[in-house]
Homo-oligomer: 419 residues x 2
């Protein structure tokens, strides 16, 4: 990955993680990720290190633009002993692309022509990958058996992602992955199980599931859920089945996703044909923001009331002042009253309400920072309530509170009112 801004941490690296997933899918094992500044010495040093380390494939991203800072093609050409040559047909196609952005009939400017000229220079013998923007990529075939294939792609993630499938289909890349076993990836998601409980399950699996050692199992906590990824070859299907069955047996309804679908996707499907209203306090709009993240949310989301101040809870959602005084704004009865108010005010058939203490101030001995109450209700009277003490700081508490809200909605809409 080349880019001074990425190396300095001012711009996050979106390409490394994306390419890692694609390469793992093709069965590659990852050896190194290196980030260099836009300086030829460091780009060259990293390339020479990677070329000498015995890897089968090197993928570079960035540094293919039109400016003097964009040095990747030049350095790749030098370290792989393939001098840059102008591809005249490619240059004409880049010029045509640039002309389309200008006014019809105008000739492109001298600086645009110079840009096309620079970007059409590729190492001798390389296969060109047609540009999505104006920067072409290319693939260099190893000249000796021990050398890796080199794929050179531009830095803008949209361009890189559109061009990768073409790179992955070239002969040198297919040859580099020939020895590898294409892996399938299955993702399970659990909610309400701790990482150590799941680790214990995996420990038991090691003794009871045949061939478990041949699966690559990773667990990862994300927004209050546990994600379990299983990478495996085709021949390990029976082991995967055994592991899945053990997890289902030990963790029951906590295992909410067998196909990798997110709770957001599941709730969106369950809300089809319904009308949802949100009432929220400590989350300050993030619950409604999360529900409306998905295209098509206007099909089921009526709206939300963020009753941040106590008088807004009374004024806009009809929560009785006496209830606020007796039980406090963060309490199960107030959460239920917020949900009732949301159903009524929006004429909705489904409601989710959240009230809690996000901190850092406002906590007490009985209701510390992180204490949150939820209520999910349907117009037919069925309801689910929950309360919990969430870990973390203000941002984490608010985010987790929306995750719990999604799961409460999921369980209510799924008919799991008995739990």
């Amino acid at each position: 990955v080349s880019g001074t801004e990425v190396l300095g941490g001012r711009v996050p690296d979106l390409n490394g993680p994306w390419l890692a997933d694609r390469l793992l899918e093709l069965g590659f094992e990852l050896a190194h990720l290196t980030v260099c500044p836009d300086r030829p010495a460091e780009i060259g040093a990293q390339l020479r290190f990677l070329l000498a380390d015995g890897v089968a494939l090197v993928v570079t991203t960035g540094g293919l633009g039109p400016t003097d800072d964009d040095l990747t093609a030049e350095v790749v050409a030098r370290v792989s002993d393939a001098p840059l040559e102008t591809d005249a047909a490619l240059e004409a196609r880049i010029v045509a692309k640039l002309a389309r952005f200008g006014r019809a009939g105008d000739a492109i400017s001298e600086s645009a022509a110079a840009a096309a000229r620079k970007q059409a220079r590729v190492p001798r013998g390389a296969s060109v990958i047609e540009p999505v923007g104006t920067a072409p990529g290319f693939v260099i075939e190893p000249s000796a058996g021990s050398e890796p294939a080199i794929v050179v792609l531009p830095g803008p993630p949209a361009e890189l992602q559109a061009m990768w499938p073409i790179a992955a289909g070239t002969v040198p890349v297919r040859r580099a992955s020939a020895g590898a076993q294409a892996l399938e990836i299955g993702v399970l998601r659990l909610f309400g199980v701790s990482e150590s409980e799941l680790t214990e399950t995996l420990r038991i699996a090691a003794g009871t599931v045949d061939g478990l050692a041949r699966l690559e199992v990773t667990t990862c906590q994300r927004r209050g859920e546990l994600e379990l990824a299983i990478r495996h070859g085709r021949s390990s299907a029976a082991s995967v089945k055994g592991l899945r069955e053990l997890i289902a047996e030990r963790h029951g309804t906590s295992l909410f996703s067998l196909d990798g679908s997110s709770v957001d996707e599941q709730v969106a499907a369950l809300l089809s044909g319904r009308r949802l209203a949100v009432a929220e306090s400590c989350t300050g709009g993030l619950m409604a923001g999360r529900i409306s993240e998905r295209p098509g949310a206007s099909g089921y989301l009526a709206g939300a009331i963020v009753a941040y101040a106590d008088d807004a809870k009374t004024r806009l959602l009809g929560v009785a002042e006496e209830l606020l005084a007796s039980d406090g704004a963060v309490s199960a009865p107030v959460a239920a009253a917020l949900a009732d108010g949301a159903l009524r005010r929006f004429g909705a058939d489904t409601a989710i309400a959240i009230t809690g203490i996000a901190g850092p101030g406002g906590g007490s001995a009985t209701k510390p920072v992180g204490y949150v109450c939820w209520s999910a209700k349907l117009a037919d009277g069925s309801a689910l309530a929950h309360e919990a003490l969430l870990p973390g700081g203000r941002a984490e508490i608010r985010d987790r509170a929306t995750t719990v809200g999604m799961h409460l909605l999921r369980r209510l809409l799924d008919g799991q009112t008995g739990r």
Copy 2:
């Protein structure tokens, strides 16, 4: 950076960017960032590459835990020819720490004792950095003049960040940075200026500001704003002043932050003593979510109404059905009516309203996806309105719409009603 999960992109690297900032502050230039899996071959290959590349300092993070996967100390010891030795006093301090987490009076378990024993082994001659968790760090002094100093730190960001100042104060690190000039960093923020306009200003500055070449100036787009960072030595103060004056002269009120403060911080300060209500449609709660992100938001945020469905705009915010029919839900008059409704419903003195088309569906020839209208109003009748076509996909349009909303509020509260 060591960690299979980081290399595979499942866990973001928080340490690289954080250390980059600290190293730049000390005047280091960054040459390489490398990420390796938890395998000794790759850890060793990356270390040997970095040690041979002529750098002054190598910092490693991760791989210092108690498990068999944690191999960094062992590999560092091998490549730097300094065998691991047990530091008995350090082991006793780690045991004491582990005992504190258990029940009083209990002896620590055999596995905890083994963990302490492993983590107390450090390369001969290294300076130990006392652990914040249970993993100590260490610093290896170069044995020859041409070798880099090596700082080895644990992976958990909270531990690394607490231990870094001690590492930075050690003799080998101070010697490595002795030739460098400690840099100061100034950050300016602009809103409503394009990156190419700012680039033109920097081009002019190169010809008119003395010593500009000695400043390191980087620009970065972030959530619809432009951030300009100036890194410079003490002796360049006059050049920095000249550049700042040129930017202020050419970009006027678009330059909203001279001290690096964010628009969120500025709006929070301007809202002190006021009562804000939000009415939003396409942003679906994200505007209120952004306002309530800051601790203490309950001091000025009354609440928000997310009027996602059209009938919610009428029912909850009093927008006339005729207006929705004649002008459409996404229009300047409806934005103004939403702001009026928010002021009234919450008894607020300040309101911000947003209505727009976030897409991907719902656009038309006259009102395409990305078209958004804003209205900011005070109870005294002063008001600002804005409309724009925002670029990007649904998530980007929604996020940018909140940024524009923040700036409209800032200008209104700052008394810039004439613009």
